[in-house]
């Protein structure tokens, strides 16, 4: 197991180097000058423009800028935002917990609903349950996040007045961020109702962000379960007189989980992409919105640092997924 884990970890290193290169190069491919964008409509004096470019190091050849960037990354320094003049690491640390909190809730929502839905659809194949679940998941998969979010706000917040519109917590609650995870901070705060408000504010964004992963997980689970349920060992288990629920949950599901776990791991990257739109619609103060703003304002340090950080998180999650394979299926780690 240790050798298996070590092999997987060592493969991350070249991937990380690739991400630093991509994060740096892609950012510089965006047209526009960050100093011009900073100056706004008033324009900027050419002498001052040259001074600022030199200050930020934008006047150096790209290869030199990349070298400086990598050196700083290795030393844990992702630079300073051109717009806010704050350290990129500090801004990321302030915003990332919000994205993580929302993403975890979305994944839990997707898994807790998607897995059972896929299992039911597979076990009750070609029945109304199967068709209903698949049609619903296709609809969910097809809906643009922006539209879906605004629709839910209109219905549940405006018409039915059941949920708040946007934000992380009601404006009346003043919670000092300790962990950055509002569910935890509000639980331990002295404000009565703060936790309930935090939960209420999570409902709609979780549904919106979790809808596409839910659909994918449901369909993938159904597909994997159908394949496994047709195997000989399942027939043997049934022939031995094992309870259907035991056959499905112990024998079938465990083997069907491998592709499903893969998909869940891959969803992490998609969740961050979806978080950009979800955070904008629900005014959720996470890294997605932060990065979109950075693209609009050509904030190179934020873009490079933010993309690198998010890329690292995705790599870490996929590493975890790889290791989980070995746990679920011992044949995989023996082969490795």
């Amino acid at each position: 197991m240790f050798r298996f884990v070590l092999t997987r970890v060592s493969l991350v290193i070249p991937t990380f180097i690739g991400v630093t290169l991509l994060a740096f190069l892609l950012v510089h491919l965006i047209p526009g000058d960050p100093i011009e964008t900073l100056a706004g409509e008033r324009g900027i004096d050419p002498v001052r423009h040259a001074q600022l470019r030199a200050e930020y190091g934008f006047d150096k050849p790209l290869i030199v800028q990349y070298g400086v960037y990598v050196w700083h990354v290795v030393n844990g320094d992702l630079g300073i935002s051109v717009i806010t003049h704050q350290r990129v690491t500090e801004e990321f640390a302030a915003l990332f917990p919000a994205t993580v909190e929302l993403s975890i809730c979305a994944v839990l929502f997707a898994v807790l609903l998607g897995l059972p839905a896929g299992i039911i659809a597979a076990v009750r194949r070609n029945t109304i349950f199967d068709h209903g679940i698949m049609a619903t998941s296709l609809t969910g998969y097809s809906m643009p996040i922006f539209w879906w979010g605004l629709l839910l706000i209109l219905l549940f917040s405006n018409v039915l007045e059941l949920t708040p519109v946007s934000g992380r917590i009601d404006a009346a609650y003043f919670i000092e961020p300790s962990t950055g995870f509002l569910l935890i901070d509000s639980w331990f705060s002295e404000d009565e109702g703060a936790f309930a408000s935090a939960v209420a504010h999570l409902i709609l964004p979780t549904i919106v962000l979790g809808t596409v992963p839910l659909a994918i997980i449901a369909r993938m689970t159904r597909s994997a379960m159908l394949e496994v349920l047709g195997e000989d060992y399942i027939r043997t288990a049934r022939a031995k007189g094992l309870a259907p629920i035991w056959v499905v949950s112990v024998h079938a599901l465990r083997n069907a989980l491998i592709p499903v776990v893969t998909v869940i791991g891959l969803q992490v990257g998609a969740l961050f992409a979806g978080a950009i739109l979800t955070e904008t619609v629900f005014a959720w103060p996470g890294v997605g919105k932060w990065l979109v703003e950075a693209i609009n304002r050509r904030d190179y340090p934020v873009l490079q640092g933010g993309v690198l950080m998010l890329g690292s998180v995705v790599m870490a999650v996929n590493l975890l997924v790889d290791i989980l394979y070995g746990v679920i299926n011992p044949r995989i780690r023996r082969t490795s």
Binding site: G43, D170, G193
Partner: protein, 532 residues
């Protein structure tokens, strides 16, 4: 298991009950964006000014709420020397600095704070010059780096500004956000503590609201300053709920999660008017959207061609189709809300036949080919430049002018336009200080016609320039008004632009909000606002 399920259900029920607990006088403003920091002098965006200078700080002079009229602020009065170069300000006594978690002031506001606030932006050897950023955009753009000769303390409550030349807009400039006064005592304390950047992140001002908390991209919280020299604000707590999407802002307003929202969608305006709980506020913007000709290049070096294009474009149709009625056809380069606006100026009619005749006289009976630049972004003075360009292209085709629409990335667009690479370019301007000089000199003066200058028409016309330069250096408002009116007549005749529109700005408030005023500058000021 059962009890856990019950507990979870209880939590969910409580959550769905959606408690909107709020203190009696808490006003929530749905802000469209996050402030970059809390030091106005290194920023240029209205979003940051709203969150910083306009709530936390004061200035020597201030704009009267909802107007461009300048009134005393931290200075109760001033004297001007006969040559217009020396301004002596008499400072208000007894103005208290805010007390915060990190700062307890030991003295009141005085001349030291004024000198520090300006020298921080001016003197490169000032220890705070480079703190947070050394990019003091407005200080330089308003020409203060070249204008100021010295700032001296006469006594604790008297400060003398000496200028290198007489400058009439100087007083209005002191009411702008970059002229906000910051505490020298607080700055010295933070420098000593090794945390000078805190001055800009945890600000201390004399203004009506004190910053309590900023959660990045989420919320800005303020508390009313109990010692504010104009009297404590009518609301106790002010909250900026950062909500970038305009549709979501409206939903929050409807749900009473906020009480004031800026920049509603044009498509939502009717719905706001129809909602009995909401009010739609309108204010003519202090802006201009225009199409500038490159007057140094053929064929636009010929005034007749420029006049012909003015007559060929149906601007009313553009207002109806693109501005959706949220604008008025512009005839002058300054908006009607600005003093010295010359309403007597006769605008060019929409007359394609007359346009063709003029083009023929100029030697273009069959028209010509040109480019027409469209901005890639939405601006307050231009909601859809691409669409406007298409309408103009169609109008120009009717008189034989074939216009190719071009666009570039926004920064690149502005840079190229300022370098005069275009033939016709769409741009615009929002006023900074309520002075006509801020439009006429910046956008049409000879010294702005150089490369990188804001006079993208590259139009330098001595009779016009003489008038605006003279007006800049005198303080007699009547005389200045007369000069600017004459300048507008010349502008119309020479037609370096097609003046397209002055847009109207909107905001929506709930009915229980009292006395919220829209500012011609697009500022959102909450002192003086009440909730019933």
């Amino acid at each position: 298991m059962k009890s856990r399920l019950l507990a979870a259900t209880a939590v969910l029920t409580l959550a769905l009950a959606g408690a909107h607990a709020a203190s009696a006088k808490t006003l929530v403003y749905c802000s469209e964006g996050s402030p970059e920091n809390f030091y106005p002098a290194i920023n240029t965006t209205g979003t940051t000014f709203d969150a910083s200078g306009r709530q936390i700080y004061d200035r020597l002079m201030d704009f009267k709420r909802g107007t461009t009229e300048v009134e005393p602020g931290l200075a109760t009065s001033y004297d001007v020397s006969s040559d217009g170069k020396t301004f002596t300000f008499h400072l208000r006594k007894g103005v208290k600095w805010q007390t915060t978690k990190t700062f307890k002031p030991t003295r009141d506001f005085n001349a030291d704070d004024v000198i520090f606030s300006f020298e921080r932006q001016w003197k490169q050897d000032n220890p705070f010059f480079k703190v947070t950023s050394d990019n003091h955009s407005y200080f330089n753009d308003m020409g203060f780096d070249k204008l100021l000769k010295s700032i001296t303390k006469v006594d604790d409550y008297t400060v003398k500004f000496e200028l290198n030349q007489a400058e009439a807009p100087f007083i209005a400039d002191l009411a702008m956000d970059f002229s906000s006064i910051i505490s020298k005592e607080y700055a010295d304390l933070m420098m000593k503590a090794g945390t000078p950047e805190k001055v800009d992140q945890e600000p201390v001002g004399t203004g009506p609201f004190m910053l309590i908390q900023y959660q990045k991209d989420a919320i800005v919280r303020y508390k009313a300053n109990p010692t504010y020299f104009r009297g404590k604000a009518k609301i106790d707590d002010l909250v900026f709920a950062i909500t970038p999407d305009s549709s979501v802002r409206l939903q929050k307003l409807k749900a009473n999660e906020c009480q004031v929202m800026p920049y509603p969608n044009p498509a939502d305006r009717d719905a706001i008017k129809a909602d009995k709980n909401l009010k739609l506020l309108e204010q003519p913007g202090m802006n201009i959207g225009y199409l500038a000709f490159q007057t140094q290049k053929k064929p636009f070096d010929d005034k007749r061609v420029r006049q012909a294009v003015n007559m060929a474009i149906n601007r009313k149709a553009i207002i109806d189709a693109v501005y959706l009625g949220a604008g008025v056809v512009a005839k002058n380069p300054i908006p009607p809300v600005l003093w010295s606006y010359n309403d007597a100026v006769k605008d060019y009619p929409y007359d394609p036949q007359k346009a063709k005749k003029l083009l023929a006289e100029a030697g273009y009976p069959n028209g010509f080919e040109t480019d027409l630049w469209a901005m890639p972004v939405q601006r307050p003075y231009n909601p859809n430049a691409r669409r406007i360009a298409e309408l103009m292209q169609a109008d120009l085709a009717k008189v034989g002018i074939k216009a190719e629409i071009k666009s570039y990335e926004w920064g690149e667009y502005r840079k190229r336009a300022q370098n005069g690479e275009h033939q016709m370019v769409q741009l615009g301007w929002t006023g900074d200080n309520g002075d006509p000089d801020n439009f006429l000199h910046v956008l049409l003066g000879c010294d702005s016609a150089k490369a990188n200058g804001s006079n993208v028409a590259k139009w330098c016309y001595k009779p016009f320039d003489d008038l605006i330069i003279e007006a800049e250096h005198i303080t007699d408002i009547k005389k200045r008004t007369e000069l600017y009116k004459q300048a507008q007549v010349i502008f119309k005749e020479e037609a370096p632009w097609v003046t397209v529109a002055h847009s109207i700005q909107f905001a929506a408030v709930r009915n229980n909000v009292v006395d919220f005023k829209l500012s011609p500058f697009g500022a959102h000021v909450f002192y003086g606002v009440d909730l019933k």
